[in-house]
């Protein structure tokens, strides 16, 4: 597939990143091309250290690429902006603000006025199911609730694209499943573009329209696998299990491949 010809919401072209570490150059990301369509839910799947979070942060505008460009609606991304909301694995809620104030934060700093900020925050609190916790501080919340705030905080800014960096990675399996289901339900209501980084094959299959598989050291895209089953998906269905086997093999092969064994992955690149 050549991503180049499709209309795209987010388009990354030749994005690469090299870090300087102890005077040596470490290649975190080899040149990567990726196009994400408007309203698409893309999961970036890969082992730790494959540069998937780096790629996401470049799209967020929080770090600059060493080479290449990322565009949104054709305009080059040069820095962070509220039209691209990022949900962090470590939540990154402001601990000195209440749940309500955290969610109001975006609209407030953007000068939308207190009334509008409150209106948006209340709506998002209801959406993510945090009624009654408006005046709690983050330290009083469980991990799952913190991430609900993290998601609501981004949505209060009404972003065009939501970037999620292993948002459920720190949660226990049960909470994780509940949040995946809730996220999917809410996403289906609005169908905004989502780029979701994960190292869980199940999570990618459950959520994504397409799964972008990345390999480690140096990070690069090795396969893009569409998931066509209708939602909500049953991860125990035979097709899902087959897909899981395929994706798991892709990810594991890379980990082996990174140890110097020849990679057999090229053939998967569509």
């Amino acid at each position: 597939m050549t991503d180049r010809e499709q209309p795209a919401k987010i388009r990354a072209e030749g994005i690469a990143k090299t870090f300087a570490s102890d005077g040596r150059e470490v290649v975190a990301l080899q040149p990567v091309d990726l196009a994400v369509k408007d309203g698409e839910f893309v999961c970036i799947l890969g082992p730790s250290g494959c540069g998937k979070s780096t790629l996401l942060r470049i799209v967020a505008g929080l770090i600059a690429a060493s080479a290449g460009t990322v565009t949104m609606d054709g305009r080059t991304i040069t820095g962070p902006g509220p039209e691209r909301g990022l949900v962090f694995q470590e939540y990154a809620l402001f601990p000195w603000l209440t749940v309500m104030q955290n969610i109001m934060y975006g609209p407030t700093v953007r000068g939308l006025g207190r009334r509008e900020a409150e209106k948006r925050a209340r709506a998002q609190i209801a959406r993510v199911g945090l009624d009654g916790f408006e005046q709690h501080f983050p330290r009083q919340l469980s991990g799952g609730m913190k991430q609900r705030v993290g998601i609501a905080r981004v949505w209060a800014n009404q972003p065009d694209v939501m970037l999620m960096d292993e948002p459920f990675g720190a949660l226990d399996a049960i909470t994780r499943n509940i949040l995946q289901r809730d996220l999917l339900k809410l996403w289906l209501e609005e169908r905004h573009t989502v780029i979701f980084v994960t190292h869980s094959v199940d999570e990618a299959i459950f959520l994504a329209d397409r799964v972008v598989v990345m390999s480690a050291r140096p990070g690069r895209i090795t396969a893009i696998v569409p998931v066509e089953a209708p939602r909500p998906r049953d991860l125990l269905a035979p097709e899902a299990i087959a897909l899981k086997a395929e994706l798991t093999k892709l990810v594991e092969d890379q980990v082996m491949g990174a140890r110097g064994e020849p990679s057999r992955l090229r053939e998967y690149v569509s």
């Binding site: 509220p82 990022l86 402001f94 700093v109 330290r139 800014n157």
Partner: protein, 280 residues
């Protein structure tokens, strides 16, 4: 009848009086534990004095200190000295805060200022407050100004160090989150860095306040004609070791009250902060 459970207490014919009695007993026991040491020490001290184990001049018994306390408390001397000390302490602490916090923010926030001030601060910080007394008297003469200066200096050092630290080590992820949500570069300082550094700044304020008493007492001993430090110094010259003890305990009381006040204010201000310990 439905069984309503409120605040974890059973509503059905609960043995409330027994519970209350238990709570009172627990409170008394706790109080007793806290009082064992001070009361024991005072008693041992009194007894040692009565039996003539220590000379009454070297260590006057608590009873004599109490008489001395009563003497200067009733003739107004004590209050005059305490008032003078309190004024210097509060003035010096406010001056220290209003200079050291902004300065610490600048130094912590700007790598350039950090480098510019690095050597100067490394050199100045180890000079103990007592070493400043001579220059303070040269600059400000005998009186309030010298004492206020030393209090401010004593408080400023911990405030500065902790503010710099707090601002420098703000979790980068908060700044990333703030930028991502649309915060402009100028707002980052006010909206993110200052609140995130507040627990550290507050630790600095508290340590600074504790530190400032040393500056106050030394300044009043040598560079002033009033205040609790002067009371201690003057009592020694008058061979009134009972009043020396009274003066020292007054410093203890002032320190304790001010520290507890700070601690309470901090707990209110930082109720969002998880690292806050509950028992100190």
């Amino acid at each position: 009848m439905t069984v309503a459970v409120q605040d974890g207490a059973p509503a059905r014919g609960a043995p409330v009086p027994a519970r209350k009695a238990g709570a009172v007993r627990r409170l008394l026991t706790t109080l007793l534990v806290y009082l064992v040491m001070p009361v024991g020490l005072l008693t041992a001290w009194q007894v040692a004095s009565e039996l003539g184990w220590v000379s009454a001049y070297l260590l006057p018994p608590p009873s004599r200190a109490a008489v001395g306390f009563w003497e200067i408390a009733t003739d107004g001397t004590l209050w005059t000295h305490v008032k003078a000390s309190l004024f210097r302490s509060i003035a010096g602490f406010l001056i220290a805060t209003s200079i050291a916090v902004p300065l610490g923010v600048v130094v912590g926030w700007s790598p350039l200022f950090r480098k510019l001030s690095h050597i100067t601060l490394l050199l100045l910080i180890p000079i103990p407050i007592t070493a400043w007394i001579s220059i303070a008297i040269v600059w400000f003469g005998i009186g309030d100004a010298s004492a206020v200066f030393l209090v401010a200096l004593g408080a400023a050092v911990p405030i500065l160090i902790n503010t710099v630290h707090g601002v420098e080590w703000v979790e980068p992820v908060y700044i990333e989150a703030a930028r991502m949500l649309g915060t402009g570069p100028r707002q980052i300082l006010w909206r993110i860095v200052l609140p995130a550094a507040l627990p550290n700044i507050f630790t600095g304020l508290r340590l600074g306040l504790r530190n400032s008493w040393a500056g106050l007492v030394v300044a009043e001993m040598i560079g002033a004609k009033s205040g609790v430090g002067y009371l201690i110094w003057d009592a020694r010259l008058m061979m009134r070791s009972d009043l020396v003890i009274v003066g020292m305990l007054m410093v203890g009381v002032l320190g304790l009250v001010s520290d507890q006040t700070m601690s309470r204010a901090g707990r209110r201000l930082l109720r969002w902060h998880e690292g806050l310990s509950r028992n100190d």
